[in-house]
Each structure stands twice: as structure tokens, then as C-alpha cells.
């Protein structure tokens, strides 16, 4: 298991108006899995993704990644864990509009103390892999939505993370582009020691999942439905 989620509960707000986003959620992810978390809007998918990526502290339960109980780490260790183990693709990309595309992709390497010039070289290589070599010097706002998504993916994989998490990666893409990108991620990233978690409610890309878990109202329903 690369990731184990054990009885995780997360609520928002204080007692009388408490809303539960996650109720007693448990599951695991194995190496070489491309796990989909699907469910209606508001069912807790993004909350779950934030909890397992060390960004949102759960109220109860544990998250273990590569043997580390991540919510017992210090703030700095947690930041290091995210930097060295995870790659993120956020729903809104969160690219830096004033940096070039290559500089955007280089950010995780720069944070890992790779020298600026080496980071940029590696970033350009990865941009070539996602088919954006010719856009390396442009700022993201000059790119189309699909291209920006690929930049976000390039940034997520540039440091070769063991666990890649994507939140609604195809929400703002047309069907074909979405499929091509997810297929690309699956074929290029999913190696022996890696795993991918995709949060989505886009059924056009379900075909790439190795496993799908469904969420509803903060709970996992209809567990472990094998697809691929």
C-alpha cells in the first residue's frame, strides 16, 4: 500500500451547525493503481483529497503515506512530505500568471533547491513530453485551457512524485482533450512505484480508472468497484 486512509472524519463549523464533509472514511491505494474518487458535488471528494495530501487536518482518523503517519509530522516535515512525495493538479490549475510556462513547471524543483538553471532545463524537457515545448517562454494566460491543464500536469510530474493527485482535471476541458490528457497521465506516469488519485465526476474518463470509489454525503458507498 502506498496510501492508507483509516476512519477519517472531517467536519466544518462549530457544534450546532457542524457539517460533516467526511464520515469515517477508510480505503487504501496500491502501487500502480489509478484510483478514481467520484460522486456528486458536495459529497466530500475535494475534502478527502486535501486530507490525504497533508493540506487539511482531519478531526479524526489517520492517513499513512509510504509508512508515514502524515498528520503526526511537524509543519515543516509535512511541507517536505508534500514537496517530495506528492504532485498536485488543482482544479483551477493555480499557475503563476507572471512567470513563463517553463518557470511555472520549474517551481517544485526550485523549492527542492535544484539550481534555477537546472530546474528550467528539466522543466523544458517535461514540457516537451506534454507537447508544449513551443510554449515554454509564454505566460500561462496566453495558453488555451487545455494547454494550461497540461502545464499544471507538467508541474505536478516534473519532480517525479510517487503519488499524483488530480482534482477534477477535466472539468474545464472538452471531452477529447480531457481523454487525451488523462490517457497521457496514465501511460506516462503510472510506473511501478507510483500511484494516481483522480477526483472527478466526468464519466467520459472513467475508462482509465483501475478502481473507482463512490462518495456520497461524506461516506464511501459501493466500495472498490473494479473497472479496468
Amino acid at each position: 500500500m502506498i496510501l492508507t486512509v483509516d476512519r477519517v472524519t472531517k467536519w466544518f463549523g462549530e457544534d450546532p451547525t457542524r457539517t460533516y464533509a467526511l464520515r469515517d472514511v477508510s480505503f487504501g491505494v496500491d502501487h500502480q493503481e489509478m484510483l478514481y474518487i467520484v460522486g456528486p458535488s458536495g459529497s466530500g471528494k475535494t475534502t478527502l483529497l486535501s486530507v490525504i495530501s497533508g493540506i487539511l487536518r482531519p478531526n479524526a482518523g489517520t492517513v499513512t503515506v509510504e509508512g508515514k503517519d502524515i498528520w503526526n509530522l511537524s509543519a515543516d516535515d509535512l511541507a517536505d512530505f508534500r514537496l517530495h512525495t506528492l504532485g498536485f493538479v488543482f482544479q483551477d490549475y493555480h499557475l503563476f500568471p507572471r512567470l513563463t510556462t517553463a518557470e511555472n513547471v520549474a517551481v517544485p524543483l526550485v523549492l527542492r533547491r535544484v539550481r534555477w538553471r537546472d530546474s528550467l532545463r528539466k522543466a523544458r524537457e517535461v514540457l516537451e513530453v506534454v507537447g508544449l515545448a513551443d510554449k515554454a517562454e509564454l505566460p500561462p494566460p496566453r495558453l488555451s485551457g487545455g494547454e494550461q491543464q497540461r502545464v499544471a500536469i507538467a508541474r505536478a510530474i516534473v519532480a517525479e512524485p510517487d503519488l499524483l493527485v488530480l482534482d477534477e482535471p477535466t472539468a474545464s476541458l472538452d471531452g477529447d482533450t480531457g481523454k487525451r490528457i488523462i490517457e497521457f497521465v496514465k501511460t506516462r506516469i503510472l510506473e511501478a512505484h507510483r500511484a494516481i488519485i483522480v477526483v472527478t465526476h466526468d464519466d467520459r474518463i472513467y475508462q482509465f480508472a483501475t478502481r473507482i470509489i463512490h462518495m456520497e454525503d461524506g461516506r464511501i458507498v459501493d466500495r472498490a468497484e473494479a473497472v479496468a
Binding site: 493540506i55 487539511l56 511541507a79 483551477d92 523549492l111
Partner: protein, 378 residues
């Protein structure tokens, strides 16, 4: 770390508008503050011109004297008393006062008159025209060729005039290291002639200039003079006393202080506010960096770096602008009293550092409270 700082720099330069506002705001504050304090230091320096130009080691004076311009005459016997104080090598009288000059064309002009000890001419200025001994000729005066020289009609050797209804003739033209602050031309003559022709009070001796036998004798001389009811100050002490008079007992010091504080507050509020806006605008970006794995300390370093970069740029431009304007002022107004000293450079630097650090601190407090969870929210 350098990669992270490059990233900080790119984020900062990304928002040109705020970047320029920050730099211009700090530039403006530094400029104002440099100008204010330079003028003040300039004024103070020029106000101490006589202490510097005459160059005595110890000045004996009435205890109520604050500046060389406002001397209180002492009785003549004090000179002999001071001469007999142990440790005194020699002591000479000095007259420092004002005279009313009537020019050949009939115009009146006030002038500072310095009367030097007849025997030694101690404190005499270097001459550019004429000979020192000519000061002993009838009615002889040396005129200082400074910014106020023209007010006497730019007299030449031999030019005659009246001073306090006595005849005067220019016997030498002198220069001095520091020009007078008060816009008056300066005439040197002998103590004897100055005290005969000019004053109307009973006592005439403005200062006694003392040369101690050795530096070690200074303290003893000061004690002895103090016991006599007078005050003996070294040149440095007299300069400080003069400075303090202008700083604390005239409106000038307080006004300059207020203006300096205002420029500081203006700079701080422009920079602090703009920097905070910059941080707010980039909150999402800092949140993304945090989510990707930047440590809090790295974000703090980025913010400090950004605020210090704009701070030092503003400092540089502000100092350049102020020194440019002061140089221009000196070109146009010959005795424009403003000097940039290490002191006011240092003060401006400290002010900029405070502005940078406070701005950064405001930003950092906000940054540290960012929940990286924002990056998952649309």
C-alpha cells in the same frame, strides 16, 4: 535558497504597478527625509562656522552663551585670570560682533566683525590677496570672499567704507573653510580696533581663546574656569552646544524632526499598504506554493527579500534624488546650506529598514495564516 529568491523577485516584478508604487513611495520618503536632515545638518554646520574657522582648542565664555553668534561680553580682567590658570599655554581675547557698514554708494549692509588678538592674530584666515601685516595699518579690515562678499559691493584692496561711523579700508581678502549661515559678509580686524570702534557695552571681550599646554591640561582648565563662574569648552563641546541650541531651542529642530517623521510615516504607509495589497493579490499564489511544499520559513524569506529589494531600491533612488537636488541647489545658491553626512544617510537607511521590515511583517502575518486548502477551492 537563491532559486526561491529568484522566484520571489519574479513574483514582485510580475506586478509592475505595485512594484513601481512601492519603489516610488519609499524613494519619496527617503528623498524628503534626506532633504530635511541634510538641510538641518547643513544649517547646523554653517551655524558653527566661526568655531571651525577660528580654530581655537578651548573657548572661554559666559555660562549663558549658547552659540558663537550670541556672545555675552566678559570683563577684561578675565583674560589675565585665565592666563594664570595652570595648564594654559596662552590665552587671547576675541571680539565677535556685528557692525553696520555704509558702502561707497551710500547703501547700508550689516556685517559680522571678528576682532583678532593684536599681538598674535590668533585665528586669522588665510589671505588670497594682501599681506597679513597689513591688518595693522590704519583702519584696516580683511574681507572674507564667500557667498556674501558681493553684498559689500565686492570690494578690492584699498576700497574704503564706513563701519559704525568709522572709516574702514580693505587691506586683505581672505577665505574661510565654512561660510556663514546668516547671510552676512564677514570682516576681520584687530581686537583693539574692533573694540574701540564697534561696541557700546561696558564689557567688550566676546571670548577668550585658550591653547592648553597639553591635552591632559584641558580638564583642569575647565574646572578652574568653572570655579571663576565662567565656562571653558573645547571646540567640539562648543560645537555640540551650538548644535543642541539649534536642535532643541529653536523651532527649526522641532520642525525638521516633524517633517522627517511625516516623511517616515508617509513612506511607511505607502509602502506598508501597497505591500499588503501585493500580498493580498498574491495570496492564492503563496497558498499554491505552500500546498506544493514551500516551508513557512521559505515564504517568510521570500517576503523579506521582496520588501528589502524595494526598500533598497527606494533608498538608492531617494538618496540620488536628494543629492542631485542639493548639488543643483548649491550650484544656484552659493551658500545653500545642506550637507549629506553619514549620519543622515544612516538615519534614512534605518528608516527604510524599519519600513521594509514592518511592511514585510504585515505581509508575513497574513501569509502565515493562509490555509493552503484555498488552492482546492474555486
Amino acid at each position: 535558497m537563491s532559486g526561491i529568491l529568484s522566484l520571489a523577485m519574479k513574483l514582485l516584478l510580475g506586478d509592475r504597478g505595485k512594484f513601481y508604487t512601492l519603489v516610488i513611495g519609499i524613494t519619496f520618503a527617503v528623498f524628503l527625509m534626506m532633504l530635511m536632515t541634510s538641510m538641518f545638518f547643513g544649517i547646523i554646520q554653517h551655524s558653527a562656522a566661526n568655531i571651525i574657522n577660528i580654530g581655537a582648542e578651548i573657548w572661554v565664555m559666559d555660562p549663558n552663551v549658547q552659540t558663537p553668534q550670541n556672545s555675552i561680553p566678559m570683563p577684561d580682567y578675565m583674560l589675565d585670570v585665565v592666563r594664570s590658570v595652570p595648564g594654559v599655554d596662552y590665552a587671547v581675547p576675541l571680539y565677535l560682533g556685528a557692525g553696520l557698514v555704509r558702502l561707497e554708494n551710500g547703501d547700508y549692509q550689516a556685517a559680522t566683525v571678528v576682532g583678532l588678538d593684536d599681538a598674535t592674530l590668533f585665528g586669522r584666515p588665510p589671505l588670497v590677496e594682501g599681506r597679513t601685516a597689513d591688518i595693522y595699518r590704519n583702519n584696516a579690515f580683511f574681507v572674507v570672499r564667500d557667498a556674501n562678499y558681493a553684498k559689500l559691493g565686492s570690494p578690492k584692496l584699498g576700497t574704503t567704507f564706513e563701519i559704525n561711523d568709522h572709516r574702514g579700508v580693505i587691506a586683505g581678502i581672505a577665505t574661510v573653510p565654512v561660510g556663514s549661515l546668516f547671510g552676512l559678509p564677514t570682516l576681520y580686524t584687530t581686537y583693539g580696533r574692533a573694540t574701540q570702534d564697534l561696541p557700546s557695552t561696558r564689557y567688550v571681550m566676546s571670548f577668550i581663546l585658550v591653547r592648553p599646554k597639553s591635552p591632559a591640561a584641558v580638564a583642569g582648565i575647565q574646572r578652574a574656569v568653572h570655579a571663576l563662574g565662567y565656562r571653558a569648552l573645547t571646540a567640539a563641546e562648543f560645537t555640540t552646544r551650538n548644535d543642541q541650541f539649534y536642535e532643541f531651542q529653536t523651532a527649526m529642530g522641532m520642525n525638521i524632526l516633524i517633517m522627517t517623521l511625516i516623511s517616515f510615516v508617509v513612506g511607511l504607509s505607502i509602502a506598508g499598504e501597497t505591500f499588503y495589497m501585493f500580498v493580498l493579490d498574491n495570496l492564492e499564489r503563496f497558498g499554491a506554493l505552500k500546498a506544493i511544499g514551500a516551508r513557512s520559513s521559505e515564504l517568510v524569506a521570500m517576503i523579506f527579500y521582496q520588501s528589502l529589494v524595494v526598500g533598497f531600491l527606494g533608498f538608492g533612488f531617494g538618496v540620488l534624488l536628494a543629492s542631485g537636488l542639493i548639488a543643483f541647489g548649491k550650484l544656484k545658491i552659493p551658500n545653500y546650506a545642506a550637507v549629506i553626512t553619514y549620519q543622515n544617510l544612516g538615519m534614512a537607511l534605518v528608516m527604510v529598514l524599519v519600513i521594509s521590515v514592518v511592511s514585510a511583517y504585515i505581509g508575513i502575518r497574513r501569509i502565515l495564516r493562509i490555509d493552503p486548502f484555498v488552492v482546492f477551492r474555486s
